[in-house]
Amino acid sequence: MDYNAYEILGLTTSATRNEIDERYKELRDKYQRARFALGEEGEEASEKLQQIEVAYRDILASLEEENQAQTFKEDDSYTAIQQLITEGKLDEAQTKLDDMVSRDAEWHYVQSILFYKRNWFLESKKQLELACQMEPDNSRYKQSLDKLTKILASNTISPDQLRTTSRPMDDGPRVGAGNGTCTGSSCMDCLLCNTCCNCMSCMGGGC
């Protein structure tokens, strides 16, 4: 905004969304009535009405822009934290998570991955359940919770079938499990992140 739209509404930039709406309605009603006055007064009111309409529209647009920027910033932060978790820098990742202001579903999801990496399975499950409660339609969260409860904690899968890497062939190098895109260390994440393949096979053998 090149001009100060807030000033036109008689507000400061610290005004809340509610305050903005109320002031806009108040001024609009006032000038809508006044624009029918005769002479200069009516013309002035009409002009004012136009100004507040534009100012109000611009304020809303800038708020929306800020909101999106914030969401992008948060998405970026989550990606950065997940990267730290993959690199095994768990304490650093935890500090960054603790520093975040929002506690949305994604926050709980990332926290659950972190707990999983620490081998804190109950805490991981609790965080995943919170994420699912907050966003019941999110299939990523739902699938992860399913895998955690039905595969990791399964008491029916034969223990000799559980592995995250394939068996070495003739002492050759280890290769990733599943579809070959996951390595031993990141395969653990795929249980929660769904970043690779059908990771049922990583947990339940067949690799």
Binding site: N119, F121, L122, N155, P159, D160, S185
Partner: protein, 283 residues
């Protein structure tokens, strides 16, 4: 706390059982050589499991001799010739036993335990000198555990972490530059299992004694009957730990002494978990 990690003797053949015993005798002779007779009474199956595991991870061949000993004076038994590793584990056993008894003394202040600690002091001081780093870690982790238990911590994962991390540190220090992520994950979860199975097994006793028990605190219950309501969550935690153990163990692709290790990790600890959970379910 110790004594849960063992082999399922009934499902091993004589030779395999003999191999387990041979490793145990190796540990016992190392202990005798370094610390005399008294601490030989305190060698645990748990430490012998790590004895076999670490020999396997390091791919070490062992030499076996036929020897008589104090408790088997007539018939010669096959004994593993003490190695550098059995010497290290003998020292580790002294330190682990010392800190475990010390922890018990802080918990229930029993005179019997205090006397045992006193008798142990000399061996402890010698082992401490040989294995300063391990002693430091054990003292730190046991203090962490004490403070969490004193503060009535209700997070099962958080409390068990101190003991699990102790087991992981123990593995890292003993294996030194030969350690790796899989064996550390394995040891972390084995430590966690030991702590949790001990707590689960002691629920009734701890309620009676009004001692700290992580399951009782976490679910805020006053009897084992009440705790049985939370059996699904408890089963989830126990099997997650058991499956991570199996996963990490399989990832190691070990080839030596696996008959014993398979038996301990695929059968023994799973059966013990099943039995303890069933006991709770019967409530």
């Amino acid at each position: 706390m110790f004594g849960y990690l063992d082999i399922e003797k009934g499902t091993l053949n004589d030779g395999q059982r003999g191999l387990w015993q041979t490793f145990m005798c190796g540990l016992c002779f190392s202990t005798k050589k370094l610390y005399g007779n008294y601490p030989r009474m305190f060698i645990t199956n748990d430490v012998n499991f790590f004895n076999v595991l670490f020999h396997s991870v390091l791919n070490l061949d062992v030499k076996i001799d036929n020897r008589r000993c104090f408790s088997h004076p007539v018939k010669k038994r096959s004994v593993l010739n003490p190695t550098e590793l059995t010497d290290k584990l003998a020292a580790a056993n002294i330190l682990l036993t010392y800190w475990n008894i010390y922890d018990d003394v802080l918990d229930d202040n029993s005179t019997k335990k205090k006397a045992a600690l006193k008798l142990f002091k000399q061996s402890y001081l010698k082992a401490k000198e040989q294995f300063e780093e391990l002693d430091g870690v054990l003292s730190k982790r046991y203090a962490e555990l004490q403070s969490l238990e004193k503060s009535d911590c209700t997070s099962i994962d958080k409390v068990a972490h101190s003991f699990a991390a102790l087991s992981q540190d123990f593995c890292r220090i003993v294996l030194a530059d030969k350690t790796n992520g899989y064996v550390e994950t394995l040891c972390y979860n084995v430590g966690k299992w030991i702590y949790l199975i001990d707590a689960l097994d002691d629920v009734k006793k701890d309620i009676k004694k009004r001692g700290y028990n992580v399951f009782v605190k976490s679910y805020n219950v006053t009897s084992d009957k009440e705790l049985a309501q939370y059996i699904d969550e408890i089963e989830f935690e126990m099997y997650s730990v058991l499956n991570r153990i199996a996963q990490a163990y399989n990832d190691l692709n070990l080839t030596k002494y696996t008959c014993i290790l398979d038996n301990a990790l695929y059968e023994s600890i799973r059966n013990k978990t099943r039995l303890t959970i069933d006991k709770l379910k019967q409530n």
